[in-house]
């Protein structure tokens, strides 16, 4: 789960990481009122789950409160990478002497958290990472001991020459790792970590991504989810325990298992069609889940044909068949339906479907080809 910058800031501040003061505004008037509290210029920053905010015009410098209001009224309501901006963060514009990068990720190859630091921070850090990876210091952490003091000091020396700044950087690295670990993050990032002309070290921007599997342990973090940042169909899917991602094609897909769902989408493409979505109904299917899945798929006006691909294991084919029949009793289908199912309770499923006037295929390639043809016709 992604957190907004202002939410990430609040969490990192609780762990003692220094930020400039700041507050969130949902209207131009609120932005102006916040700017008036800070004598001097402010930054007005779009709060949206997308990188490249600055390049999209979502981060602006305002010299006075009136300008802050003007920027806020333009930024609130704009969309960045299809995501609507509903809030801005207003912070005093800091004077910057240097920009660095500090981050923690779970590294899948190393199978442990890795803290990364680079003196070449700022908006081009991804270029730095791909072109000059040697400029990024990487420190693997044994999570049983945490980030050890000498490791944090090494990170500080990787960032700064001045000993006071080295110590400040090391302390921030310790606190960032502590926050990362405490909230169950998969990414915690400060970019840029700046020094000011008078020598202080502080964080100007923050990013936190929390492992979805940790949310059961952190209800206070789960409550921070911004529902406006995702499509209603994605919320509906999550409420029903379905894994769903909308795409732009015309063949609606309903599959059990993530790997088979991806392979089904790939096969749609192989036969010349375009998948409308990724949808995994999960292992232990029940008919209600299938009804919800059909509701979500038929809610997409671009869908011209619906394809079920079920390989019964834990998932029982008869449960899926019952769900399909129940769904079509609750709402009429306006596009053709192609059903492929094989495996556990296949014969029972075919009987249920046949009685309701549907037919079922057993071969995956046959079913996909048929769905692609119907979506085109």
């Amino acid at each position: 789960m992604n957190l907004h910058e202002y939410q990430a800031r609040e969490i990192l501040e609780r762990f003692g990481i220094p930020f400039p003061r700041g507050a969130v505004a949902a209207t131009a008037q609120e932005a102006m009122a916040i700017a008036e509290q800070f004598a001097g210029p402010v930054m007005v920053k779009a709060q949206v789950h997308s990188g490249g905010r600055g390049k999209a015009g979502g981060v602006k410098l305002a010299r006075n409160p009136a300008e802050a209001a003007a920027h806020a009224s333009r930024i609130i309501g704009m969309t960045i990478n299809d995501l609507p901006v509903q809030k801005v963060l207003v912070v005093p514009a800091a004077e910057i002497a240097s920009e660095s990068y500090l981050g923690v990720i779970v590294d899948r190859a190393a199978q442990r958290p890795v803290v990364m630091a680079s003196a070449a921070g700022g908006i081009d850090i991804e270029d730095v990472a791909s072109r000059t990876p040697e400029r990024i210091l990487r420190v693997p952490v044994d999570p049983r001991y945490g980030l050890l003091p000498h490791q944090a000091t090494a990170l500080g020396f990787g960032l700064y020459d001045d000993l006071a700044q080295v110590r400040a950087g090391a302390e921030i690295a310790q606190k960032l790792y502590a926050a990362f670990y405490a909230v169950g993050a998969s990414l915690a990032e400060i970019n840029p970590l700046v020094t000011t002309p008078d020598g202080r070290v502080m964080a100007l921007d923050a990013k936190l991504v929390v492992d979805d599997n940790e949310l059961m342990r952190h209800p206070e973090i789960a409550a921070l989810r911004d529902l406006s940042a995702e499509a209603p169909s994605e919320q509906q899917a999550r409420d029903h325990g379905l894994s769903f991602i909308p795409l732009a094609g015309s063949v609606g897909c309903c599959v059990n298992g993530a790997g088979l769902a991806m392979a089904t989408m790939d096969l749609v493409k192989f036969y010349g069609g375009e998948p409308a979505n990724f949808l995994d109904i999960g292992g232990s299917s029940n008919p209600e889940k299938v009804v919800a899945a059909l509701q979500i798929i038929t809610g997409d006006p671009r869908v011209r044909a619906i394809l079920f691909n079920i390989f019964g294991g834990i998932t029982r084919c008869d449960d899926v068949a019952t769900g399909i029949v129940q769904a079509t009793q609750q709402f009429p289908l306006t596009v053709p339906l192609v059903i492929r199912l094989t495996g556990t309770n296949e014969a029972e499923a075919v009987a249920i479907l046949t009685k309701a006037g549907f037919s079922a295929l057993t071969d995956m390639d046959d079913a996909v080809q048929r769905a692609v043809t119907l979506a085109k016709g």
């Binding site: 049983r144 790997g259 392979a263 790939d266 094989t342």
Partner: protein, 289 residues
């Protein structure tokens, strides 16, 4: 012959009385797996379905019944703890079916197991089956046939699809291993390929990968460097959009190496034929054998 499990496997089931654990324990018993004991804290002293003894702790079960493998069906919040317990009790093979374990939990599990020489398969995996000998996990036994093809996969139902193709065309399997769809897993493609290479009962290997990470690339290097047996591969997720998690926690195409196209190219560069669709598995294998 087979890898990891065979007729001599004596299995413990952790979470034996739960909804998933009880259902699949019955399936494993029906398949012929030797299930020696179960563990559910608080249910010690009882018998599962009147036959399998249930213990409160793994240590007790090990002392009384000498299992050499365990399968974990414990819910996500307590699954890492169940793995620690099994490793601490000296069980050398742990298969974890549970989905949704926090990845930071796994970062603590992995070094603990490495220090004790314990093999973990999974988590978030369907387990494994050596057809006709033993089944540990949830792979449907009826789609498998005894034979000489090794199967290793990051997926569940996609594996069943491909195994079904193999079985219906006369290619039985030595062992099918589901290694799991999480970012951090105990056993990689390379571990399994090495085991199949060393297994006298395996002639060729089918490897089923997907987007996310670079395990397929490491497997490609390994095959080129160290394998003499033929390997054919599939990679799911060619149409997956970058940056989105496709169901499995590990299936995100991002950054360097994570996309299906990059994986397929790396495999082909290593001389491994890559299926364009699951149904290609049989012709590709016939071509290589």
């Amino acid at each position: 012959m087979s890898v990891f499990i065979d007729r001599t496997t004596r299995l413990l089931v952790q979470g034996v009385t739960g909804r998933d654990g009880s259902f699949h324990t019955r399936q494993m018993l029906a398949y012929g797996t030797t299930v020696v004991a179960g563990v559910t804290p608080g249910k010690g002293g009882s018998r599962f379905d009147g036959t399998v003894p249930v213990y409160d702790t793994v240590a007790e079960a090990v002392r009384e019944t000498q299992p050499n493998a365990t399968v974990v069906y414990v819910p996500a919040a307590a699954a890492a703890s169940a793995i620690f317990e099994a490793a601490d009790a000296g069980i050398a093979l742990i298969v974890c079916i549970t989905e949704g374990i926090p990845v930071l939990d796994m970062t603590k599990v992995i070094p603990f197991l490495a220090e004790r020489g314990v093999r973990l398969i999974g988590p978030n995996c369907p387990g494994l089956i050596s057809p006709g000998q033993s089944k540990v996990g949830i792979i449907p036994g009826n789609i498998c046939r005894p034979g000489r093809i090794g199967v290793v996969s990051r997926s569940g139902t996609l594996t069943y699809e491909i195994v079904h193709q193999l079985s219906t065309h006369g290619f039985g399997q030595s062992t099918c291993v589901g290694i799991g769809g999480d970012p951090i897993i105990g056993t990689s493609f390379v571990h399994c390929l090495a085991a199949f290479q060393a297994d006298a009962g395996t002639d060729a290997v089918v490897m089923i990968g997907e987007i996310g990470g670079t395990d397929e690339q490491q497997a490609a290097e390994y095959v080129q460097r160290s394998m003499t047996k033929p390997v054919v591969a599939f990679v799911a997720g060619q149409t997956a959009p970058p940056g989105r998690r496709m169901g499995h926690a590990g299936a995100i195409a991002s950054g360097s190496g994570g996309t299906a196209a990059e994986k397929m190219a790396a495999l082909e560069r290593a001389g491994i034929p890559v299926m364009r669709r699951p149904a290609d598995v049989v012709p590709l294998l016939k071509d290589r054998l």
